[in-house]
Amino acid sequence: MPDQLIPTSAVLGAWVATGLTLFIYSFLYKDNPLFKLGEHLYVGVSIGYSVVLVWYTVFFRLLWEPLMKDIAAHPAALGTYEPVIPALLGLLILTQFFPRLSWLSRIAFAFIVGFGSGVAIPRTVSSYILKQIEDTVTPLITMSANGLSMGVDLASPQSGINTIILLIGVVSVLFYFFFSVEHTGPGMVTARTGIYFLMIAFGAAFGYTVMSRMSLLIGRFRDLITFAGAEYGYATPVLLLVTVLSLAAWELATRRKTGGE
């Protein structure tokens, strides 16, 4: 017996969640109406949720409430009406729906794109280029009381030998993507080194992607196991049976229809 009784809304929710999960997984058999139903529900619910949140967050919390508060406090001050400017620019974006007025949206997009491009340039140069180059060209040899030394411990990412490998990797991959120069002679050796580095990185990316996707599956299965219990009315096994029977019926009906034709 569970320590706490599960509320009815949670039990109902468990049945709905399990049903929808199994509808989506039915795609593993083949594309079918249950999957299509789940897929369209997913898009619909996501959009509905986003609309509600945008309404309450943007229009109420960020625009309406601060504007009304400022108008009540300082109705004559010009600065009070400042939120009207982004609201007007936002409305200009919506002119996209009216072909004769859609050119007005260019003003809003120019504002957004200009601001975005402007703020991005120095920050991109600083964070993605300069900082990354700085870490690539770290000193190989260090001076200590015992004299000059270079780290050769592969297990330490910051050691000298790893810095050399990193430098070779960065340069060879950058060279591989530099298509303005023909990859012949020493250039070909560099480019081929770059290709091998790329293959290693893609292999690592694949390994991590497998890890990631399997984790998502583990999460969903964990929920299905939880909802299989008596406290949830054996939702998982019952709905699994219903899904399998529905798929079998649909398959039979489809085969009869194709056979008849």
């Binding site: 919390r61 975005g116 991109t124 399997m214 984790s215 583990i218 964990r222």
Partner: protein
């Protein structure tokens, strides 16, 4: 004998993919029902996050950004729970927010659940600011003035005057920040538009898909630590001494990885068996 081996290889290469689906389903389900509990090895990048949090004085300001939605919940929710448990245990002032509109309910649920189990009070020990649009513009706005970026929290309480936000004017007053990210609007955006100018220390928690791309930032010190995927969450749970969803899922993770490795090896064995045949025919 050779002919039958080639026939076997041909049949196995063309096997119905639904059998592979069934193998994966079994490899996931069986360890979840019967865990074997292997030890978790902690990586330096996860330990770095833990050590930094551990060294923070009480009532330091910790910002946690849930930059993911329910599609990444199994990987990033365990990370969030572990980090929040650690932060509340350390009596830090926790600020939670999200850049992903469809992750708002998830973030609220997680922070409320962990706060309730640790006896923390909304407004005094933590605040959930909710979602606001803008992405990089929101970060810049928070960096300039937190109260203009979020005039109220998710439950519509005004942020100005909240005890948990006392002395916090903008991002410069944040002592540590972790972005739990599933994609573009996440760790890199926080660094480029946040840490680069406003100089708070930050780390990242990410899905396995984007984790490899974050290693250059880890190496250069732009992020001080990285919790990658469910494995990273399991390592963090091990460090805080409170095993949860992540550790429970690692056995299934091991099993599925090994199934895939065996499948890949078999595929290549069959391929080489058949390749010899094709070479002779040519």
């Amino acid at each position: 004998m050779k002919g039958s081996l080639k026939d076997l290889a041909r049949r196995m290469i063309a096997i119905d993919r639904r059998i592979i689906f069934l193998l994966i389903a079994c490899a996931t389900l069986l360890p979840l029902l019967n865990p074997f509990g292997l030890p978790i090895k902690v990586s330096p990048e996860v330990k770095a996050v833990y050590d930094y949090m551990e060294a923070l004085p009480e009532r330091s300001v910790f910002l946690l950004s849930f930059d993911f939605d329910p599609s990444s919940k199994p990987e990033l929710e365990p990370q969030a729970v572990a980090l929040l448990r650690h932060a509340f245990r350390k009596n830090l002032r926790v600020i939670v927010m999200t850049h992903w509109i469809t992750g708002t309910g998830l973030a609220d649920g997680v922070v409320s659940q962990v706060a309730a189990e640790t006896g923390k009070t909304r407004g005094k020990d933590y605040v959930f600011l909710g979602w606001a649009p803008g992405g990089y513009a929101l970060i810049i706005s928070m960096g300039q003035d937190l109260y203009k970026a979020f005039p109220s929290d998710y439950s519509k309480t005004p942020t100005l005057g909240m005890p948990v936000l006392e002395g916090v004017r903008n991002l410069r007053d944040v002592n540590y920040m972790v972005s739990l990210a599933a994609g573009g609007a996440g760790i890199e955006m926080w660094y480029v538009f946040g840490k680069d100018k406003y100089r708070f220390e930050m780390a990242g928690g990410s899905t396995g898909v984007i984790a490899p791309g974050l290693y250059p930032f880890l190496r250069s010190g732009q992020i001080n630590g990285l919790i990658g995927g469910l494995q990273g969450a399991a390592e963090y749970e091990t460090l805080i001494g409170r095993k949860g969803m992540a550790v429970a899922g690692m056995d299934a993770q091991s099993a599925t990885h090994f199934v895939i490795i065996i499948l890949v090896v078999l595929c290549n064995v069959f391929y080489f068996v058949l390749r010899g045949d094709k070479g002779k025919k040519a």
